[in-house]
Symmetry: D4
Subunit: 222 residues, 8 copies
Amino acid sequence: MHGYDELNFAKLDSDRKQRTGFAEVVFCSGKSVDHLESIYKHILEIEGEVLGTRATKEQYEALKASFSDIVYDEVSHILKIEKTDKTYAGNVVVCTAGTADIPVAEEAAQTAEFFGTKVNRIYDVGVSGIHRLLSKTEELQAANCVVAVAGMEGALPSVIGGLVKNPVIAVPTSVGYGANFGGMSALLTMINSCANGIAVVNIDNGYGAGYLATQMNRLALK
Amino acid sequence: MHGYDELNFAKLDSDRKQRTGFAEVVFCSGKSVDHLESIYKHILEIEGEVLGTRATKEQYEALKASFSDIVYDEVSHILKIEKTDKTYAGNVVVCTAGTADIPVAEEAAQTAEFFGTKVNRIYDVGVSGIHRLLSKTEELQAANCVVAVAGMEGALPSVIGGLVKNPVIAVPTSVGYGANFGGMSALLTMINSCANGIAVVNIDNGYGAGYLATQMNRLALK
Amino acid sequence: MHGYDELNFAKLDSDRKQRTGFAEVVFCSGKSVDHLESIYKHILEIEGEVLGTRATKEQYEALKASFSDIVYDEVSHILKIEKTDKTYAGNVVVCTAGTADIPVAEEAAQTAEFFGTKVNRIYDVGVSGIHRLLSKTEELQAANCVVAVAGMEGALPSVIGGLVKNPVIAVPTSVGYGANFGGMSALLTMINSCANGIAVVNIDNGYGAGYLATQMNRLALK
Amino acid sequence: MHGYDELNFAKLDSDRKQRTGFAEVVFCSGKSVDHLESIYKHILEIEGEVLGTRATKEQYEALKASFSDIVYDEVSHILKIEKTDKTYAGNVVVCTAGTADIPVAEEAAQTAEFFGTKVNRIYDVGVSGIHRLLSKTEELQAANCVVAVAGMEGALPSVIGGLVKNPVIAVPTSVGYGANFGGMSALLTMINSCANGIAVVNIDNGYGAGYLATQMNRLALK
Amino acid sequence: MHGYDELNFAKLDSDRKQRTGFAEVVFCSGKSVDHLESIYKHILEIEGEVLGTRATKEQYEALKASFSDIVYDEVSHILKIEKTDKTYAGNVVVCTAGTADIPVAEEAAQTAEFFGTKVNRIYDVGVSGIHRLLSKTEELQAANCVVAVAGMEGALPSVIGGLVKNPVIAVPTSVGYGANFGGMSALLTMINSCANGIAVVNIDNGYGAGYLATQMNRLALK
Amino acid sequence: MHGYDELNFAKLDSDRKQRTGFAEVVFCSGKSVDHLESIYKHILEIEGEVLGTRATKEQYEALKASFSDIVYDEVSHILKIEKTDKTYAGNVVVCTAGTADIPVAEEAAQTAEFFGTKVNRIYDVGVSGIHRLLSKTEELQAANCVVAVAGMEGALPSVIGGLVKNPVIAVPTSVGYGANFGGMSALLTMINSCANGIAVVNIDNGYGAGYLATQMNRLALK
Amino acid sequence: MHGYDELNFAKLDSDRKQRTGFAEVVFCSGKSVDHLESIYKHILEIEGEVLGTRATKEQYEALKASFSDIVYDEVSHILKIEKTDKTYAGNVVVCTAGTADIPVAEEAAQTAEFFGTKVNRIYDVGVSGIHRLLSKTEELQAANCVVAVAGMEGALPSVIGGLVKNPVIAVPTSVGYGANFGGMSALLTMINSCANGIAVVNIDNGYGAGYLATQMNRLALK
Amino acid sequence: MHGYDELNFAKLDSDRKQRTGFAEVVFCSGKSVDHLESIYKHILEIEGEVLGTRATKEQYEALKASFSDIVYDEVSHILKIEKTDKTYAGNVVVCTAGTADIPVAEEAAQTAEFFGTKVNRIYDVGVSGIHRLLSKTEELQAANCVVAVAGMEGALPSVIGGLVKNPVIAVPTSVGYGANFGGMSALLTMINSCANGIAVVNIDNGYGAGYLATQMNRLALK
């Protein structure tokens, strides 16, 4: 027994939940409908639910026939079959600098919620109108961790990092133009921040931020 | 009252501990002896101890006259005056890929310890001899978080991320040669990892990793 | 006699097989149907078979009329006319980190097979679920060389390099998002690996990897 | 008459003050003592004073013999002979994120002062302790323009830009480590800021910022 | 009272005009018609006019029904509702190196005009035919500031900077091919210019240049 | 008289031929049909012929109505009206590494021919089959200059540079994949060549190479 | 038993020779004399010989006291204790483009020799004087693999790749100036080569090339 | 006979003058005194003179003993033994933007002179004081080619290119600070210039520019 299930085209890591506390999540981007169907079916049998990210509307339309309970969110591009009796615990804040950063923030928020985390959304609080952010100081300080999502205002995590006790997960987004290099400029801003307690993930990686936020939230719940 | 103390050349953030749970830490690199002395004295009065990073041996020699209890560590370049009655709680693992990554790892470990964290060091477990890492699996899984420090083996956090429940803090180092770009290649490897639960900090930023590890450890201790 | 055949628009290197042991291979991308037809006809006459890479389905449809034996593979984008009496010798393993890396891996595997190499495919063994890879250790150690194909897990060749006696050919792929820079991040990870015996080829260059693997396999067969 | 003075090794732009309102300034870095002496003498004769930037202490020691009134500032590396009857007009604020940014800020401030600008210094107001900056809001709003100097906190100009009516001149510095790329990360942060009214100059270019601030201040004085 | 209006999806900074002298401007790119309509309505009520940038013709067609006075300019992509009794004051020159830079220049010029600035356009005066630029020297010297827009001729601001008393706002554009890196080469040319008084904004950021030019023009009008 | 003609949207440099020996050439990319028509008409009146580069087939179709003699070449994307009595002098070789580099080479060759240069084309002589190139050594040595066009084989100019007396104009192309960075890798190879007499132009800049080759050829004809 | 030996500061991979056929090699750069002594002693006991790379003369002087048989080569910076009864088998060619590339080539050659490989050195055969290389064609074709070392002439592996049947290991060096980016330009040239059978290693990584060459040579010897 | 002389450590290309019209030139940087002595002696015997570039004063001091006629120039770092009866023909202008660019310009000028070219130096004519350059228009137009050397004013070749009939050789220098990237920004400015007739060489490559200028000058002299 190798701790994985051999599908024709993939090795599903059936041992993962045991090791990490999280079932396998499907990265839908670029996968064929046949493959997706096979993977969703396999995970659904074991877990009773499935979370998929970066799905297209076309994939959703195609899978609806086989999975009547499947749900698609056009903002976050999450495609999931979810248990109906979920409860949410802890406190994670997800905030954005601008409205264009919301899709990535929603991927983070909905991922965290899928894994049982209670999420508080605070959107459009970029630092160029700092009073909007400061009016939420108490909510930020109450969170077990803060996810800060920003493309054109890489400064957001720095300012938050100076206000709170708990970790800030910084998510650069590819939103912007000119010298933003598809989000690389925001990533560099966040990595170089001299504020403390800033944990950076990949550009547009809302899923990774939601996963990490869940881990931190679970530490506080233990 | 503005929540900071105006020194001649700096504004010490006296309100910081209240907001973030951490007293101000001194980044010694490039500071004159006069300025250092003034800052150490100021923080010592308020906190009863001081942590400084990136100090040189020359700065240590110069400050010894004024602060008899000051201690310098040549590996981590930490220069501190520390309370003697400390206790350590929780469980953070700090590991390195190679022996050349140890200075950055020590900055992380000693920072975390200064803030009361119990640290378990596992050094020289790079993935090109994977059995060395796998022999430590249980220790890794027992930690509240793992700090993984690596310059030439950016893969280390990915492998650990697949083995554990809790967050992995990835610290790229500037160790290496050729196309390592002063650590940028390791940073990119870590940021792009498709393992989950990887939080990246700046190149050689052991201090930031130790701070973040302390925050996560404190979440688990609450 | 110059050792090449002057077509109207190209100089086919008819001397190549003599020098290198490999007949000329057609890089189909961007070539017009007229040119392709002329080149395929020319090589077919001399070699009795033709290998083309990076072909589109449209090119295949257009050439079918002239070459009834032509075969197109939609995964690898290989378009070939092949002798029917081939035998395969030696032992080359082609493995991938994820399922999205399979098209590049297939270009490598089918290229090697076209040149008479026996190929063993091991797909979806990325290092974030390391037990999947370790369960194949014996197969990896038995190969004359291993082709390791990865976009988001540049660490794969490093781990394999530490397990085997023979060379590892590392193929970065452009699969990924965010700071992957079209595969450059994976390339840098592989080039900087401190594991030994890692030979790197260009991003998505499955063909080059299959060629190099064939050369190494032939060394072992001599 | 060409509007310049031909020295042996240079063409001094004697027409410049007429065209731009500023006499020629000497970039001392790398110039030999002979050349410096000749240039200072030439400008002194015409203008009655000379401003030089990026001078070393050695250059100062060497020129003291010839110019008894010459003054050197070790922080800003400015080497000047200045008229004694200067008055200062207008209102420019020069602020820094950290104490390590002060040398560049001083180059800006002293350049502006040399050209008759009244300067208000506000140092060490980085955004990770945002209350320090906000306590100075009124002073910032009163300025004809604000020069914001920062290496590790590229966010500083964004926050200020959202608070004031007048332009903010953003000066990235090479202060920092890791992925700061000698100031390029700070420069990208500032260029990509979605705050309005941010004018960026080259890394460590305090002189350019002081010049630009003087131009803006003069507009307000007209 | 927090100084902003909570829309469902955004926090409109109603306090901004008070702080900065400019009402909020809408960055239309990527916004849904519903959101745009809501934002335009909100701002129109408060300000009596609205300026939007980076709008598409489709957005214009969709909003025409609700806002009969809305006007769209296909060159600058500005979508606005404007008061009819405007007067223009001061003197700002907007110039371009080539004809392909005109769309960015128009975004700058029309933004400045919306905020009451008098604009003088001088287009197609690139430095490779320097007599075209020099024939306009007097107009350039008369301006309170000059906006210089260029993609393939990053040298334009340097030459102008040497001719005038007042600031030059340099706007790199993404126009070009080959090694222009989407405008990054022009940006670097402008940032490194050894001419004085050059203020650089982001690539293609005509809006930012128009805003900054308005601020400078207002300084002169005070 | 300023030495240019003011069209509505452009300043045609009517003085250029006098200064440089070349009439103005039209960069068609992105220009509207109206503008093109106006410019072609204007230049045709003065010069009796017009050369345009980077034209689309659509632009050609649209201009055919107004200019019956206009000719379009689909390989080089050159759109021209040319005098019929041309003679060609001198000797310029244009060569390519691969067949995919031919479009750029043709832009160079046809530009040079438009300006009266005699061109000798040698295509598909990449260095990986070096005998093809060496068989042309005499032709290369006879040329007044050699234009070497290459995307995946940046080495071509180096080898030629070592064989000939006269200058080699190196043109990197964007042909390639993986780590070619749109031609930047070829450009760097060419710029760093330790062969002598290599003059590099921008990526895909066939026009610039043809212009430069014409200048060199004219030097030899004087 | 974990398959490694725990030194105080490192985990020596005692299982490595069993897995990979190569004993552990010491990367001396930056290691203290104490650590080096301990590691050399440990490996010497097990293997009867030790290979170290990137050693300084100072390290050699310090270790001479403890190891009388230790030998240092100033060109390759190899510091080794070697068995005296070695025989060399197979055939590997190591060649360089210029004389400045020899240190890296010697690291490759001497590493291969330490592991029992017969090496044929061909230095200073850069492609800008191609006849020097071509005069060695037969020797190149006779090798089991060719190591091609080059900094300013990244083209060398491409030309060799077109001449031989067996793999070419391309080693970029940091030799050069200007836009060579510490060897990155040579690396990109080699990675993008359209010649076949090119395996690239890190910049200046002579050791890695020698290791890989040994692996290939051993395949041929089996 | 292979057309080269085998020294112990190098293959001197004795056939080069025959092929290219230029004897071999010595790149002194990093060469040992022994090697230099041997190479200078060898070339001196054949050519009666030797040109070396990038030499240090130490190399000069060491070689003086053996070669009494050897001459060293501290500005250009050229170390040469030259025939005394030289005459200079043609007309090449070498100009610089600033005084700091003179060392590179001198390498170009003296290289050209060594090969018999008549050189006209025009230094310190950067475009930020454009009247200095324009006052030299006739001299520029009279040259067979112009070498334009610039680090902080990459625009210089563009402006000259628009003024002259003959080619402009653009030499970026590493002079500058901030975002100049060791000359890469100047290189990009020059490569992207939309002026015509610009031939770019490597950063600081005065020698290459002088060589290329000599080739062009010789074309005109034929």
